[in-house]
Symmetry: C5
Amino acid sequence: MVCVAIVDTTFSRVDMASEAIKVLRKKVPGLKVKRYTVPGIKDIAVAVKKLFDEGCDAAMTFGWVGPTQTDKYSYLAMSIALQMVQINYGRHVIDVTVHEDEAEPIKLKEIALGRAREHAENLAVILTKGPQGLTPLAGTGQRQGWPDVGPL
Amino acid sequence: MVCVAIVDTTFSRVDMASEAIKVLRKKVPGLKVKRYTVPGIKDIAVAVKKLFDEGCDAAMTFGWVGPTQTDKYSYLAMSIALQMVQINYGRHVIDVTVHEDEAEPIKLKEIALGRAREHAENLAVILTKGPQGLTPLAGTGQRQGWPDVGPL
Amino acid sequence: MVCVAIVDTTFSRVDMASEAIKVLRKKVPGLKVKRYTVPGIKDIAVAVKKLFDEGCDAAMTFGWVGPTQTDKYSYLAMSIALQMVQINYGRHVIDVTVHEDEAEPIKLKEIALGRAREHAENLAVILTKGPQGLTPLAGTGQRQGWPDVGPL
Amino acid sequence: MVCVAIVDTTFSRVDMASEAIKVLRKKVPGLKVKRYTVPGIKDIAVAVKKLFDEGCDAAMTFGWVGPTQTDKYSYLAMSIALQMVQINYGRHVIDVTVHEDEAEPIKLKEIALGRAREHAENLAVILTKGPQGLTPLAGTGQRQGWPDVGPL
Amino acid sequence: MVCVAIVDTTFSRVDMASEAIKVLRKKVPGLKVKRYTVPGIKDIAVAVKKLFDEGCDAAMTFGWVGPTQTDKYSYLAMSIALQMVQINYGRHVIDVTVHEDEAEPIKLKEIALGRAREHAENLAVILTKGPQGLTPLAGTGQRQGWPDVGPL
């Protein structure tokens, strides 16, 4: 049995977690999901840590970042924290973050859901096929939420 | 009994902590509060750590950040430190920060008090209902101190 | 007996440490001071750590930061390091930093000495009165080296 | 026998890892390679950690960074994480990163492959000749992927 | 006997390490030097850590940083890492870094060599005279590689 921690926020404007859970359930046999919802991105890392302590093997996190410079620093602090948790536990935390300044609001929902789905597929490959599951796609310019750009 | 650490600063121009404590007392049965006041945001993380060592189960911190680039780097250093404390202890630190450049001074007090109240409610839900207490609000665009923006 | 570590630099253009030591001696009964002078701000954190290992209960550090973007990144690295030391030891490091771009050179000396004095007073309150010694001033807009701005 | 961990991404637009592995195989006798492919740069550090736990002696990582400010913060988070892994294990992680804004797309492939090759040579020297293997080149303005600029 | 770790890069355009070693040999009786040359600044911290594990008492590092924003983030990652190593070991790492944007190329060599020499003298004072060896110069506006600016 594989346990995946799912951490998302009430700040986000799209329910990405539910989308990702659907994909994971389809792709990962015997999946156990533990979900934790927090207010915002600076509350995510500790929730992952708590679910790792309860035995989860990997995590997906779903952040939403405003457009100001302050928001970007909060994103940086969260990102460093998720690196620390990964290094402390030796477990993947696939971070799905949407930045409000990457597209018009009307487009953001589609990006968010697409990114959640595609990263859930990425994690499913790693969990079921191991370190070289994604190697056939190495250097091929995959994007999540946007069209792939392909290799040069 | 639940112990919540409350750390605030003399630099701040609004007493957010008292506002948050009022909400917490109403919402969390058997609450014990430990308050620690420090000069500025770079003194907050160690105070949280000391109160965690005394047995507090979670913390709320109340920062106030000036408008310069230097102030923003101090905010970043504080934010990284609060991530570390959360990861080290596996306990939430709900950070309520007001940035002087997010609104006119006259509006800042209202933002500060609203943010303190709403984040106190967030923490109360997590403490009393657990990891999925906030899940009904996941992806719904909640904001603290500003009007909610809603889901896309 | 209380031991306070004092770490300052030869890069600084004002001897802030001596000013702070004078205040601390007046305000903290049975004070023991250990001073360590290093070249610049990136050498401060390890000096604090060494003095904490020798038994100091808290520290004051005195940094001076040039006006370039590179100087600001060095300030950020130092600030993160001082957070780490505080979190590792559970002891306060009251950081007194002067930034060359916060005022004209002629004004900087006054700012530096005022900030050193006022932060020494802050630390004295914490050391002699504990976590709630500063609580009467919480949210009152205290500034160090500049006039207080008061509560909103 | 020497084991080198190779971590690359599906986000990258060039398969740098294969290029580097070719060089390493030629230059390092008895080389064992363990490859791990992840989605993007924020997934690299934990993969290195996992391969270090399996006994690898050093690592090469291959990142690709978009042109936005957000991409640069992700690069910073990854870079800090790779520093932490190196410090935790006392093993080199030679990081080969290509930034989309360092040249026109048509030029990026050549830069990427050249950088991978030249850093593989650097790592081979360190692994086979030790800490002073590169000392004859100290201060000589070596560049990877761009022409060397030479000493001043 | 005192052991000083010397870590420099092939990226640098000036051999600062040799200059610093000359000064250290003159000023520190019974000096043992261990030199480690790495490709670039992101490889420095782990080399220091390895030499500290071999028993060195302090380190000098010699970095060279390009002019782009990306270069500056790499500088920041290196700086944070050097802080971590210092804090982990309680040993000084005197970092001598030259930034390509601080002067015209023709001037950079002189700055680099001067900075290496003057910081070697700083380290020699700390190693031979202890924490207060530099105190007579505290707050006197010392600069390395540029003329001292003096106290205010």
